[in-house]
C-alpha cells in the first residue's frame, strides 16, 4: 500500500512542476499576480457589503425624529459583540485592500520602466479602469478625515449624550448635523462619493473577472448590479449631507 503512493497515478505526475521554492503552495498562490488580484477582489466585494450596511444606517439621519433612530442604531453598531468582531475584520479588510493596491501598483509600474511618448487616451479602455489608484487615494483621504470626525469621536471623543426611554446614548446625530452644515465638508463628501462612484463602476465587475466569474448567463446581471451599486450607493450617500445642509 505504501509503495502505491510512490507510483505516479496520473500522467501529470511526469510533467515537471517548475515552482520549486521555499514558499508553501498557498503563499505561492497568493503572491502570484493572479493571487494578489483575487485578494483585491475579495476584500473589495466585502467592502461593498459594508457600504450597503453603512448606507442603511445613514439613511436614518433623514428621519424627522431628532436623530433618535440613528443614535440607537449607532449604539447598537458600536456595542453588539457580533458587529464588533465583524468590525475588526472590516478594519483588516480596509488595510489589506489598501496595502495590496500599493504592492500591485508598484509591481505594475516596474513592468514598464520606459513609458510611451504618445498616450492612447481612452479609446481602448475607460478612464476609471486606468485610475483606480487615484480614485482609491481620494477615497482614502476622505476616509481618514471621515474616521477622525465621526468614528474617533464616537469611540473616544467627548460627545454630547441624549436620553431615550431612560437610556443614555451618545448623540452622534448632533456631531453629524454640525459637520453636515459645514460647506467644505459637504463639498468634500460629494467629491469623494463621485470618486467612489467611478471606483465601484470598474471595481465591482472587475472583482468578478478577477475571481474568474465571466459567463454569458451571469455577465448581464453582474454588469447591471455593478452599475446600480456604483450609481445608487454613492448618490444616496452624497444626498444625505446635501439634504441636511439645505435643511
Amino acid at each position: 500500500m505504501i509503495l502505491l503512493w510512490n507510483v505516479p497515478l496520473v500522467a501529470s505526475d511526469y510533467y515537471t512542476f517548475n515552482q520549486a521554492n521555499h514558499m508553501s503552495w498557498f503563499t505561492n498562490a497568493m503572491s502570484s499576480s493572479i493571487g494578489k488580484k483575487v485578494l483585491m477582489a475579495l476584500t473589495g466585494l466585502f467592502l461593498v457589503t459594508f457600504l450597503i450596511v453603512h448606507l442603511s444606517g445613514n439613511l436614518q439621519l433623514l428621519l424627522n425624529d431628532g436623530g433618535k433612530a440613528f443614535n440607537i442604531y449607532a449604539k447598537f453598531m458600536t456595542t453588539n459583540p457580533v458587529i464588533k468582531a465583524t468590525s475588526y475584520l472590516l478594519y483588516a479588510t480596509f488595510i489589506v485592500h489598501i496595502v495590496w493596491a500599493l504592492i500591485i501598483t508598484v509591481g505594475n509600474k516596474k513592468a514598464r520602466p520606459t513609458g510611451y511618448a504618445v498616450q492612447p487616451g481612452n479609446v481602448s479602455s475607460t478612464w476609471s479602469s486606468k485610475n483606480m489608484g487615484l480614485l482609491g487615494t481620494i477615497i482614502l483621504v476622505f476616509l481618514v478625515i471621515h474616521l477622525k470626525q465621526f468614528w474617533y469621536e464616537m469611540h473616544w471623543g467627548g460627545i454630547p449624550t441624549a436620553n431615550y426611554d431612560g437610556m443614555e446614548y451618545n448623540d452622534l446625530y448632533a456631531v453629524v448635523n454640525v459637520a453636515f452644515h459645514e460647506l467644505w465638508y459637504v463639498v468634500l463628501y460629494t467629491i469623494s462619493m463621485m470618486a467612489l462612484m467611478f471606483h465601484l463602476n470598474h471595481g465591482f465587475k472587475s472583482a468578478f473577472q478577477s475571481l474568474g466569474a465571466n459567463h454569458p448567463k451571469y455577465n448581464p446581471l453582474i454588469k447591471g448590479v455593478g452599475f446600480i451599486i456604483a450609481i445608487v450607493i454613492p448618490a444616496l450617500f452624497a444626498a444625505i449631507p446635501i439634504i441636511m445642509y439645505m435643511k
Binding site: Y15, K37, G115, P120, S124
Partner: protein
C-alpha cells in the same frame, strides 16, 4: 500624400535612444504601413544612413512579427497587425509617432525591434501537450462538441504578437497567457497537464516581469485577433482551481 514620421531610434539595448524625425513623400493610400517604412529605408540606405530596424515576416497578418506602437496604439488606429494597416488610415501631412513595444519583459534590441523571448519561455513552461507514445490517432477519434472546438479555436488564433502587453498600462501578459492556457484547457488532449500547465505558465509570466491584470480591457480592444477577456477569467479560474486542487505542493 506626405507623411511626417517621428521614429524611435536606439542603437542597441544599452543605448538610451530617442526620437528622430523623417519626412516621407510620395506615400500612396494603398501602401501598407510597412511598405511606407520600406520606402523610407531605401532612401536612408541611398543616403548611407542606418535603416530603421523593425520586425516583419509574413506581411499577411498571421505571424504577429510586426510590432510597432503607432500614435499611442499597438499596430496603429485599426484593430489589425501593422502589415495590414494601410496608409489610407492617415491623412496627408499627418505626423505619426512610432515607438517600440514598451515592457520590462520586452527589452528593445534595436530601434523598433524588441525581444519577445519571454513569450517563448512562457510557452516552454507549459504551453504544449505531451504525447509520449503511440501512433497517430484518427482525426475523429475524440469527439469534441462543435461549440467547445470553436471556443478553443478562437483562443488558439492568438499569434503571440504582444499587442496585449504593449496596450496594457501594466505591461501585463494575461491575455496572451490566458489564450494559450484556454486553448488546451478546453480540449481533451490538454487535460493531462491542465493544472500544472496553468501553475507553470503563470509562474513563468510573473518571473518574466510582466505586470498584473487591471481588467481595463485595453488588450482585448487592441488584439488583432480579437482574443476576448473571457480567456483571462478562464485563466483565473484555471489557476485558482489548480492551486487549490493540484498535486503540486
Amino acid at each position: 500624400m506626405k507623411i511626417k514620421l517621428k521614429v524611435w531610434r536606439q542603437k542597441n539595448q544599452q543605448d538610451k535612444g530617442g526620437f528622430k524625425a523623417y519626412d516621407v513623400d510620395d506615400v500612396s493610400d494603398d501602401m501598407s504601413f510597412l511598405e511606407m517604412f520600406d520606402v523610407l529605408n531605401e532612401q536612408l540606405v541611398k543616403k548611407n544612413e542606418d535603416p530603421i530596424h523593425f520586425d516583419h515576416d509574413c506581411r499577411e497578418g498571421i505571424c504577429g512579427a510586426c510590432s510597432m506602437y503607432i500614435n499611442g496604439r499597438p499596430h496603429g488606429p485599426e484593430q489589425t497587425t501593422t502589415c495590414q494597416l494601410h496608409m489610407r488610415s492617415f491623412k496627408d501631412g499627418d505626423t505619426i509617432t512610432v515607438e517600440p513595444w514598451r515592457a520590462k519583459a520586452f527589452p528593445v534590441i534595436k530601434d523598433l525591434v524588441v525581444d519577445r523571448g519571454a513569450f517563448d519561455r512562457i510557452i516552454q513552461s507549459g504551453g504544449y501537450v505531451s504525447v509520449n507514445t503511440g501512433g497517430v490517432p484518427d482525426a475523429n477519434d475524440i469527439p469534441i462538441p462543435k461549440k467547445i472546438a470553436d471556443h478553443a479555436f478562437d483562443s488558439a488564433t492568438c499569434i503571440g504578437c504582444g499587442a496585449c502587453v504593449a496596450a496594457c498600462k501594466n505591461s501585463s501578459a494575461m491575455l496572451f497567457v490566458s489564450a494559450k492556457v484556454s486553448q488546451l484547457a478546453m480540449l481533451p488532449q490538454g487535460q493531462v497537464e491542465r493544472k500544472t500547465r496553468a501553475e507553470n505558465m503563470v509562474s513563468q509570466m510573473d518571473d518574466e516581469g510582466f505586470g498584473s491584470c487591471s481588467n481595463t480591457g485595453a488588450c482585448e480592444a487592441e488584439c488583432p485577433k480579437g482574443i476576448s477577456l473571457e480567456n483571462i477569467a478562464r485563466l483565473n479560474r484555471e489557476y485558482l482551481n489548480a492551486k487549490v486542487t493540484s498535486d503540486n505542493i
